[in-house]
Amino acid sequence: MINKKVNTIQEALQGVKSGMTLMLGGFGLCGIPENAITELVKLGVSDLTCISNNAGVDDFGLGLLLQQKQIKKMISSYVGENDEFERQMLSGELEVELTPQGTLAEKCRAAQAGFPAFYTPAGYGTEVAEGKETREFDGKMYVLESAYKADFSFVKAWKGDEAGNLIFKGTARNFNPCMCGAANITVAEVEELVPVGELDPNQIHIPGIFVQRIFQGNNYEKRIEQRTVRQRN
């Protein structure tokens, strides 16, 4: 077993510097690496390029990094829930690259899987395809999209072991598995870190080979964006 466990959050984020490109898992506030984000705020690193499907809300998730103006460029598919984000974008302080959600996922997966680029039909004929190579296959048009290059990938899983094997829960899985192994260093935080041998190899979602550092996360808030319920009859 190659041990990936680190004991402190400082150790987990060692090497993160201003100007780097970071991938962060999560969909909305679901399955975001809460501990890593908190530590990034503490570290005070700036000029970051962040690849994440969403940009958090004003006072949680990536919104915390936006508040401190630590993000130079945001690469996302949907950024609708964040007033500070909108303000920085419209004033030109923040550079924003909007990417179709499936393309964003695949650009991560391509980096993980060693593909430099791929063709997708998404965005053909729209401003997303401007300046990009297009090609026809079987009568349909496709856009060439390239894999992301990132320095660090921060993901959140439900359970993990010291070998870096990960299991996700519910829709908190989302972009997290796609970002594992898609950056130079993948840092996984988990709700429950167990010794090797405790997880059933049949149930592993992401093998530890894609993870360089794993740590036991703490104090998960797991904020719900749209609490929606039905009445009991």
Partner: protein
């Protein structure tokens, strides 16, 4: 004239036995409430769940189980969770049979715009560009006109496009329209709405052939 629930109710009639269906945010989400219960249908949400159920009872919400609108949901027996790349493999690979989504504008050539108003609103496209570029069967759920009374059923979209030549059918508060041969073909009228009213609210080319029946809801 239909309200949002009426539009959803009419679209629900398009959902067939054995369909995997992706529902967008807004009116499309309501469609799930009106699908006949004697057919087998599974709802996909692109954030990573197939077999979505109703909203949870109060106190049973799980922050780790949400839909693409970030609402808390439940799952039905047979449901599955998956990552975002797998989710869009289902969509891009045309394993999802029907996509229902909202729009700001639809054009007579099937173009759709729903993600950006330059200088005013930039929320992003989310999964909409992947969905419209891939789905065989796309139904747009929308109001026929905007709040100023201007038509959203156009000759040509004025807003940045989400997809080109992809919309097959539009269900609005006034009508059901089929999009083909560079025109909107009037298929059904909403209850109490005349062909003239629909014509007046439609900027794009409207083809009216024969007697147009009223929707049966």
């Amino acid at each position: 004239m239909l309200d949002k629930n009426g539009i959803a109710k009419r679209i629900a009639k398009e959902v067939q036995n054995g369909y995997y269906v992706n529902l967008g945010i807004g009116i499309p989400t309501l469609v799930a409430n009106f699908v006949r219960d004697d057919i087998e249908v599974e709802f996909q949400s692109e954030n990573g769940v197939l077999g979505m159920g109703p909203f949870p009872f109060e106190g049973e919400e799980d922050a780790d189980i949400i839909n693409a609108g970030k609402q808390t949901i439940t799952t039905l027996p047979g449901a599955s969770f998956f990552d975002s790349a797998t989710s869009f493999s289902m969509i891009r690979g045309q394993h999802v049979h029907l996509t229902i989504l909202g729009a700001m504008e639809v054009a007579e050539n099937g173009d759709i715009a729903n993600w950006k108003i330059p200088g005013k609103m930039v929320k992003g496209m989310g999964g909409a560009m992947d969905l419209v570029a891939s789905a065989e069967n796309i139904i747009v759920a929308m109001m026929h006109t905007n709040k100023h009374g201007d038509s959203k059923i156009l000759k040509k979209c004025t807003l940045p496009l989400t997809g080109v030549g992809c919309v097959k059918k539009v269900v609005t508060n006034l009508a059901v329209l089929e999009v083909k041969n560079n025109a909107f073909h009037l298929i059904e009228r909403a209850p109490g709405v005349s062909v003239e009213e629909i014509q007046k609210a439609t900027e794009g080319t409207l083809v009216v052939e024969g007697n147009i029946p009223e929707m049966i809801l």
